[in-house]
């Protein structure tokens, strides 16, 4: 049987949970065609298409949550974060409410649609909000891992999906008691990766492994201040870390790691690889845009090769 896509997996997990939890509501900003219908059929009274009204959607989500409900909203990354940022800030985050903002199109997944659809600032503007935890799964196994944590977390959450059809990276479920997934042990140069760009980092790491060089590799699908200690411990184990993300290299995952490193007495060197602000006019498919922004496998190999020559 074909593996379900991330989006389908998300909806089936939501339906499964809604059967046990009658306080679960799902709101969509008029998106989710051919994805959300099964939830609507299963829970007609707990599903609302809010129309193209993201500000109202976030306010309504806050109101539902204030009444003790667990609320999910669904939209495309920029519509779900930028357009309604103040509602998320004041109504959801300040009141520390159980609302999960689910976004598709995180990163460059909708590359050919143009800048309006490039979700490349979303982590930056969500990360600075109070009580917010961010989840960026790279495949369906990380999605399951994140989803279990989302069900337990009673505060504001941002679940960033990409196209939602990403191939499997892992072969088996991720144990729930870890927050940082070790793929290759820490080495002199270690990659820290957030989101579906993990596939490129894995290819890059394999390339060096075949040459007998170990490049460390960790996936961090959760961005939260609560992980500070664990991350700092990891940062203390090597001298060079390269962060890789499909997000602007301002304010996102790389900035999160750098901010933690700054607080260390002997911080490692952090090299942040992300989308360059210079390239925002570039249009093309995800593969093309990853290449332009030097976050594809070949570019990562090149960057690491250069670094290795300096060691």
């Amino acid at each position: 049987m074909k593996n379900p896509s991330l989006r389908d997996r998300f909806v089936s997990r939501l339906i499964e949970y809604s059967k046990k939890n009658k306080n679960l509501f799902l709101l969509t900003g008029d998106l989710g065609f051919s994805v959300l219908e099964p939830f609507r059929e299963e829970n007609p009274k707990r599903f609302f298409n809010m129309g193209v009204s993201e500000q109202n959607m976030m306010g309504v989500a806050a109101g539902l949550s204030l009444e003790g409900n667990k609320v999910f909203t669904y939209s495309i990354a920029n519509f779900a974060t930028s357009r309604c940022h103040e509602q998320i800030r004041n109504d959801i985050c300040y009141h520390d409410l159980d609302v999960t903002i689910v976004a598709t199109g995180g990163g460059l997944a909708y590359g050919a649609h143009g800048y309006t659809h490039h979700g490349i600032e979303d982590i930056a503007i969500m990360r600075c909000l109070p009580n917010m935890t961010i989840y960026v799964p790279s495949d369906r196994f990380e999605l399951d891992f994140c989803f279990d944590k989302i069900l337990q977390n009673k505060g504001p959450k941002y679940l960033r999906l990409a196209r939602g059809k990403e191939s499997d990276i892992y072969q088996k479920p991720i144990p729930e008691n870890i927050d940082i997934v070790e793929i290759e042990k820490c080495s002199e140069i270690t990659l820290l990766v957030c989101g579906p760009i993990l596939d490129q980092a894995i290819e890059c790491s394999k390339h060096f492994k075949n040459k007998g060089i170990n490049i460390g590799l960790y996936s961090l699908p959760i961005i939260s201040q609560s992980l500070s200690l664990k991350i700092k411990r990891l940062l203390g184990r090597s001298s060079i870390f390269m962060t890789v993300e499909e997000h602007k290299n301002i304010g996102g995952f790389g900035s999160f790691i750098s901010e933690l490193a700054i607080g260390m007495s002997r911080p490692p060197r952090i090299i942040s690889c992300g989308v360059s602000p210079k390239n925002i006019n570039s249009i093309g498919n995800q593969e093309h845009l990853r290449k332009i922004n030097k976050i594809d496998k070949s570019a990562l190999i090149k960057t690491i090769s250069k670094l290795l020559r300096t060691l």
């Binding site: 509501f25 009274k45 707990r46 609302f48 809010m50 129309g51 009204s53 500000q55 109202n56 976030m58 306010g59 309504v60 989500a61 806050a62 109101g63 539902l64 949550s65 204030l66 009444e67 003790g68 409900n69 103040e86 509602q87 004041n90 109504d91 300040y94 009141h95």
Partner: protein, 267 residues
């Protein structure tokens, strides 16, 4: 004199004192909605200080959060928290800031201060109340300047589409916003017809007439299919002669002399 009028007199005294002591702004908007809030808490809302989180309570949201002083004074007078707290209005580490805040305060449903948020949150509450078959109302007090916000109209359309007859919006139409008259900035009129065309049941009433306000609220609670809006014609800065219907009332706190005059009048 009705009970709500007695409450209004007490609130006026408390609010003017609070604003004067803190040298805070928004005197005009506080005084324009003071009678509305008095009637709501005295005659309409089912909210009890000993059961502030009761599932059956009515939900009241002050969407025009800049007039939080009126609601704080009301809650203190109704026994939700000690009246001495009013003396700390806007002070360092006070529980009661210039814009209404629900943190650490019983009886406040939502912290507001940026316009255009309250109605959407109220809609979320109304959906949940209907889902649970709870017969409580959600009452949201909005400003007329707030009618400029697109988010409010998003919520207006949504509420009528879903026939949320458990919502009562109240617009404090004092006709002056931050930087001029509403008529000169973005003319709202005919405001009632606008709401009506968006599918709401509309009442227009003198926002300082307690008897009329009470009657209208009671009628509004009986709506069967539509959400209701009550547009209250009010006077910004009502009760302070030099502030009535003047833009400056949006910014200026009551002077010591005005405060003294109000206290003497009330005696």
């Amino acid at each position: 004199m009705s009970k709500s009028q007695t409450l209004a007199i007490q609130l006026k005294k408390d609010v003017v004192n609070m604003l004067n002591r803190a040298q805070a702004s928004h005197t005009g908007g506080c005084l324009s909605c003071l009678d509305i809030v008095s009637v709501l808490y005295q005659e309409i809302l089912n909210i009890k200080p000993n059961k502030p989180k009761s599932p059956n309570r009515d939900r009241f949201i002050l969407s025009k959060g800049h007039t939080g002083a009126v609601v704080f004074a009301t809650l203190a007078n109704k026994g939700f928290f000690p009246k001495s707290w009013l003396d700390t209005f806007c002070e360092n580490e006070s529980k009661i800031p210039g814009h209404i805040d629900s943190h650490g305060i019983l009886g406040v449903e939502l912290s507001t201060g940026s316009l255009g948020h309250g109605l959407s949150v109220g809609v979320g509450m109304a959906i949940s109340l209907k889902y649970r078959k709870t017969k409580a109302n959600v009452i949201i007090l909005l400003s007329d300047g707030e009618m400029n916000t697109g988010s409010t109209w998003e919520a207006v359309m949504f509420a009528s589409h879903h026939k949320l007859n458990n919502i009562i919006s109240v617009v404090d139409k004092n006709k002056i916003q931050s930087f001029g008259r509403t008529k000169e900035i973005i003319d709202l009129d005919p405001l009632g017809r606008k709401w009506k065309s968006f599918g709401w049941k509309v009442y227009e009433v003198d926002g300082h007439n307690h008897k009329k306000l009470k009657e209208t609220f009671l009628r509004a609670k009986k709506s069967r299919t539509k959400p209701v809006v009550i547009i209250c014609d009010t006077v910004k800065g009502k009760g302070i002669k030099d502030m009535e219907d003047k833009l400056i009332s949006h910014y200026r706190p009551p002077t010591d002399e005005e405060t003294k005059t109000i206290m003497e009048e009330i005696k």
